[in-house]
């Protein structure tokens, strides 16, 4: 805010020690670190489940797990990766970076970010505990469609309450982000001077606050349908199981932008840095992000073209979905144009950002194919859908997170990581992710359904290729925590503020590692103006 200065209530680096520092934390960096460590842990747990899936699908016939456990694995893998890995990773990056990027000492509501973080370990304890209760873990898919989800055993209420807790955590975390961005900016940090990571997170947080409560409402209706005799999703009582799908996807489609918009922001920071040029079309990027967010509220039924809906509705949702390609195209164009005639270098963050640019675009194109109603009748519930959303989420969201970590890690730790090893991590990830997911397009177009533990023999070859890619991708991710550990323990000190010579923005004006309370005295207008693209 322009009218008052933002300084922390202390002028010293007083850090609490031991476990109290983490459990009672109110510091944006400590809490950001906990979010990131938690996300990494969940990434490996969810990844292990994916390995079970790919091992079972390595060849036709039943090998390792029974169909019930297989379906539990697909369901839990999705819930853990979405709510446990990607969303907490974004919130962790937001907590770390937003105060630094807007010139604030801390997040606006320090106790609340502690609460929003510490709900998560309990929520996922609850979710993971379902693996050990009678009837096994939820197996009806992460979308929790009734009536199937109501047939889960003791895991059912655990699933519902775990989702409630994750939702509460996300809402509180998002409120903190919005308030920090709107209220904690240094004087002179006008909205259109904000870095795009801040912009995309502002819009993401708005989406979170708007749709997480809708998910809470939907799962509450499931709970009362199961235990208290309501008939929201039962035709006999005048309800409709399809109604759940409408409410769920009203949450679900904005949710996919929640998972990807911060990646747009990070890529928009990294590409200019390593092209040594300002971002092309900064303002257009902001407006494109806002239009994507707006459109995300009016496209949800493209997930349900085959459940039956009036023709007019099908046409509406097909066309509105295709409209999203316009602002997304603006973004892809602007990233490409930023590199045009730039002096490019290919450090790990740039490599991940470039892979994002190419591979996310593939996921976007297959999304357009899925938006076409008659074609979707063919693709619905096949591996083509699986290939589509994994292209958006793995080389999209996950690579975005990786890019962000490799970009800012030197600022957080004060040490540079092992460049060679990071490039190995990149190339192994980028190659195996395609070996893993590209064949799934072929499988889907050939008619292989998703969420099945066994398949017809003609699908064997591409499943084997995909599984090999899966194991390779999974194993190469182990490099990531090793690399971070090495960086923290024995990385070469960065010493300078700008770990990357072409970097823009306020975070690069702070020392490396950044001080405990980021901007205790607000940065000057000149410094802010220097770092802004607009």
């Amino acid at each position: 805010m322009a009218e008052h200065s933002v300084a922390a209530a202390h002028d010293h680096d007083h850090k609490p020690h031991g476990w109290r520092r983490w459990v009672y934390a109110t510091n944006h960096k400590d809490i950001g670190t906990m979010y990131l460590v938690f996300a990494c842990l969940m990434f490996f747990i969810g990844g292990a489940m994916a390995m079970v899936i790919r091992a079972e699908l390595f060849k036709p016939g039943m090998q390792l797990v029974d169909p019930q456990l297989f379906n539990s694995m697909t369901t839990m893998h999705a819930l853990i990766m979405i709510f446990g890995a990607v969303m907490p990773a974004w919130t962790g990056l937001a907590n770390w970076m937003i105060p630094m990027q807007v010139g604030a000492p801390e997040m606006a509501l320090p106790r609340l970010i502690n609460f929003s973080f510490w709900i998560l370990p309990f929520a996922f304890t609850l979710l993971l505990a379902t693996l050990f209760v009678p009837g096994g873990a939820p197996a009806g898919g992460w979308t929790m469609y009734p009536p199937l989800v109501l047939q889960n055993g003791a895991s059912f209420p655990m699933l519902i309450f775990a989702v409630h807790m994750m939702g509460a955590s996300s809402i509180l975390g998002a409120i903190n982000v919005v308030v920090t961005i709107l209220n904690m900016r240094a004087p002179g940090m006008t909205l259109l001077r904000m870095p795009l990571f801040v912009w995309t997170w502002l819009i993401t947080a708005y989406l979170l606050i708007a749709v997480m409560p809708v998910l809470a409402g939907a799962v509450t209706m499931l709970l009362t349908d199961h235990f208290f005799g309501t008939t929201f999703f039962t035709a006999a009582g005048g309800g409709d199981p399809v109604m759940f799908q409408h409410i769920f996807w009203f949450f679900g489609h904005p949710e996919v932008y929640i998972l990807i918009l911060p990646a747009f922001g990070i890529v928009s920071e990294i590409i200019p840095t390593f092209s040594r040029k300002p971002l092309f079309g900064y303002e257009a990027m902001v407006y494109a992000t806002a239009s994507i967010a707006f459109l995300s509220f009016i496209v949800w039924a493209h997930h349900m073209f085959v459940v039956g809906m009036p023709l007019a509705a099908q046409l509406f949702f097909m066309l509105s979905t295709m409209l999203i390609a316009i602002p997304t195209g603006v973004k892809v164009f602007n990233w490409t144009a930023t590199m045009w005639k730039g002096s490019l270098s290919f450090e790990p963050p740039m490599l991940f950002a470039l892979a994002f640019l190419f591979l996310f675009t593939i996921g976007g194109f297959s999304g357009l194919m899925l938006a076409i109603v008659p074609a979707d009748y063919q693709y619905q519930d096949t591996y083509f859908v699986v290939a589509h959303f994994h292209y958006v989420l793995v080389p999209g969201a996950i690579f975005g997170i990786m890019a962000g970590v490799y970009y800012w890690l030197p600022k957080w730790v004060g040490n540079m990581y092992h460049m060679g090893l990071a490039k190995w991590h990149f190339w192994l990830s980028a190659i195996f992710v395609n070996v893993l997911f590209f064949p799934q397009h072929f499988l889907g177009l050939a008619g292989m359904p998703r969420r099945i533990p066994d398949y017809a023999v003609q699908f064997t070859d591409w499943n084997m290729v995909s599984s090999i890619g899966g194991f390779g991708f999974g194993l190469s991710q182990l490099l990531f925590p090793i690399l971070i550990y090495m960086c923290v323990k024995s990385g070469k000190p960065v010493k300078v503020n700008k770990a990357w010579e072409g970097a823009h923005g306020l975070e690069w004006e702070l020392p490396s590692p950044a001080p405990y309370h980021s901007w205790q005295t607000p940065p000057s207008d000149a410094i802010i103006a220097k770092g802004a693209f607009h």
Binding site: I209, T231, G237
Partner: protein, 296 residues
């Protein structure tokens, strides 16, 4: 606390250190959820809610107590006040979206699923195959007449009986809190105390009348949570609203007690305004309920 030394510095943004309340809240929430799960899975009786409820109450008393204490010590500058205000507004927005899900279910049932079940529109086969005799009406407990009295019939609560009185009560309470707010700003503590008390008395009266209405619905009208889609939407919407009125009335009671202790000044009274916004929010939700659930 290390930062208390800087408490009078109006330029500094207060950052608390080492807070025990959030982790208490997380443990309390987890305990409450475990209790609910144990109860619903028949692993334990209704007592299993008690530990979580006690912990939650402890957390709310402790957390709000700490914040009120800090506020009274004057450590919050104007910018902190702005953060609290924005936080509350966005929280209310999230609540609006929670109710939107249930209103969405109501509108979907009334305009789409019930007509479809009677054979209109694109979904004729459910009607033809399963319930060819079903005619769309509202209120309805569905083509299979789920729940209701022994003969599956049920009656609804007429809008212009108790619900109309409740509407008058809530709208009046919206006025009294506004009067109280103006009194606070004008420094008239007597008027403030009286009108704030009136507001929460009206709020609790509303809750009492809702409870009476629920009793009649269950005993005499055959209108229960399990009475088809009408009962489902009616009780979930009015139930969650009633819960919010109860919470709002408790919040009003708390700020009234704070007024009695001399808290709030004419220009610094965030908690009062937050409660007032919340109260207006439950008021507006009620108007939606009165129109779309009871009246139309």
């Amino acid at each position: 606390m290390a930062n208390a030394a800087h408490a009078q510095d109006s330029n500094s943004y207060y950052v608390p250190h080492d807070s025990t309340w959030p982790i208490t809240g997380s443990v309390a929430l987890f305990t409450l959820m475990l209790g609910a799960i144990s109860y619903l899975n028949d692993w334990a009786g209704g007592w299993s809610f008690i530990p979580g409820a006690i912990l939650m109450a402890f957390m709310f008393f402790g957390w709000f107590g700490t914040v009120i204490g800090e506020s009274q010590r004057g450590v919050y500058n104007v910018q902190v006040d702005h953060s609290f205000r924005m936080g509350m507004m966005w929280f209310i927005f999230s609540e609006v979206m929670f109710f939107a899900a249930f209103f969405g279910a109501l509108f979907y049932a009334r305009t789409l699923s019930v007509p479809w079940l009677s054979g209109q529109g694109v979904k004729v086969f459910t009607n033809l195959v399963l319930w060819p005799q079903y005619e769309a009406t509202w209120p309805t407990n569905g083509p299979a007449h789920v729940g209701g009295r022994a003969d599956s019939s049920f009656d609804v609560i007429p809008a212009f009986s108790l619900p109309a009185i409740n509407t008058a009560i809530l709208l009046t309470s919206g006025l009294t809190i506004t009067v109280a707010h103006h009194a606070l700003r004008a420094g008239k503590r007597g008027t403030l105390t009286v009108f704030l008390a009136l507001t929460f008395i009206l709020g609790f009266t509303f809750v009492g009348l809702q409870a009476k209405e629920y009793g009649e619905a269950y005993r005499e009208l055959g209108l229960r949570l399990s009475t088809g889609i009408y009962g489902s939407t009616f009780f979930m919407l009015t139930g969650f609203h009633g819960l919010h009125v109860t919470i709002g009335a408790i919040m009003l009671l708390v700020i009234w007690l704070r007024v009695l202790r001399g808290h709030f000044t004419p220009d610094r009274h965030f908690a009062f305004e937050a409660v007032a916004w919340y109260w207006h929010f439950v008021d507006v939700v009620w108007l939606g309920l009165f129109i779309f659930v009871y009246w139309l």
